[in-house]
């Protein structure tokens, strides 16, 4: 069964080509296709899932993701998310979804004040989402991060934890969630979360950069996120 991804493209997006490459080329033999959706569009057309990619949308003016959250296309993105459609925000996409109110909390400057670009590990947790259900909870995977504003904050993190909305947590190579394994100062080592309904996911690590062995030692763990969506869509479990 064919499944069509929309990859939102803002001025300043820079992981949009990478994301489209995964859903339109790498996973083509699994029936996956994709297209770019320009930020000035007001309709999504016929898409089954959405990727809000990383980058520096609108130069990250004011706050990371603040301008993009009000781009013309966001009204359609919000409607798609509210109707249960699977949406993933990666890095700047995560920041945009928080600013747009589709995900809770906020992402601020890394504790170190540095832009951090490196391979990390994160543990899969929480409830099964369309982007993580093929990864068993408790497993940890390697993915790269590349951000300056990835320090996750939430005014009531206990509730978020209680609702099993924490989906990815920074850990060490053995899967241990330690302070040393937390690259940016995020509360409770949080690397990614989902919304209350579970269909909208945001994460700072870059799964789209960990889908092909040719890209280096990071492995192909990121592929599982996109495969999860294809499985979810095939089972008709979303909308």
């Amino acid at each position: 069964m064919a499944h069509h991804f929309g990859v939102i493209r803002f001025p300043g997006s820079n992981c949009d080509d990478d994301a489209l490459h995964i859903v339109d080329t790498v996973l083509a033999d699994r029936g996956s296709t994709g297209e770019f959706l320009w930020h000035k569009e007001t309709s999504l057309g016929q898409v089954d899932a959405l990727v809000v990619p990383g980058g520096f949308s609108y130069g990250d003016y004011l706050r990371a993701g603040a301008m993009a959250a009000h781009a013309p296309i966001m009204e359609a993105v919000i409607a798609f998310a509210k109707s249960g459609g699977p949406v993933v925000g990666i890095c700047n996409g995560f920041q945009i979804l928080c600013e747009a109110g589709l995900l809770e909390g906020a992402l601020t400057r890394n504790e170190s004040l540095r832009f951090i670009c490196k391979d990390i590990f994160c543990r899969i947790e929480g409830r099964p989402t369309p982007f993580s259900k093929s990864l068993p909870a408790g497993r940890h995977v390697g993915m790269p991060i590349a951000h300056a504003e990835g320090c996750y904050r939430h005014p009531d993190v206990e509730r978020l934890e209680g609702e099993s909305q924490v989906i990815f947590r920074y850990c060490d190579a053995e899967g241990g969630v330690t302070a040393e394994a937390n690259p940016n100062g995020s509360i409770n080592n949080i690397a990614g979360i989902c919304n209350a309904a579970g269909n909208v996911v945001g994460l700072m690590p870059h799964p789209e950069r960990a889908c092909e062995t040719v890209l280096g030692a990071g492995g192909v763990a990121g592929l599982a996120l996109f495969e999860s969506v294809l499985e979810t869509l095939s089972s008709g479990a979303t909308r």
């Binding site: 706050r63 603040a66 009000h70 601020t108 504790e111 170190s112 004040l113 904050r153 100062g185």
Partner: protein
């Protein structure tokens, strides 16, 4: 009219920028700096000339865009 908006981090939100500036002030010999918090200052020129209306408009702007109320507070002054 002109509106002045002061956006500050809520207490309890870590401010690594402020901490870095505080440490550097210490290195420069400024003893007794107990803490530094960094915020934003935004000036907005408005067409309206009713201060109450101006404050209403700018408050809405702050809630919608200028501040992220998850981690920031804001204060509006109308000139």
């Amino acid at each position: 009219m002109k509106a002045k908006v002061y956006v500050t981090l809520k207490s309890g939100v870590l401010d690594p920028q402020g901490q870095a500036v505080g440490r550097t002030l210490g290195k420069l010999g400024y003893e007794g700096v107990k803490g530094v918090r960094i915020g934003k200052f935004v000036e907005i020129e408005l067409e309206v000339d009713d201060p109450k209306l101006a404050e209403e408009q700018v408050t809405k702007m702050c809630d919608e865009l200028i501040a992220n109320t998850v981690m920031e507070n804001y204060r509006v002054e109308i000139d």
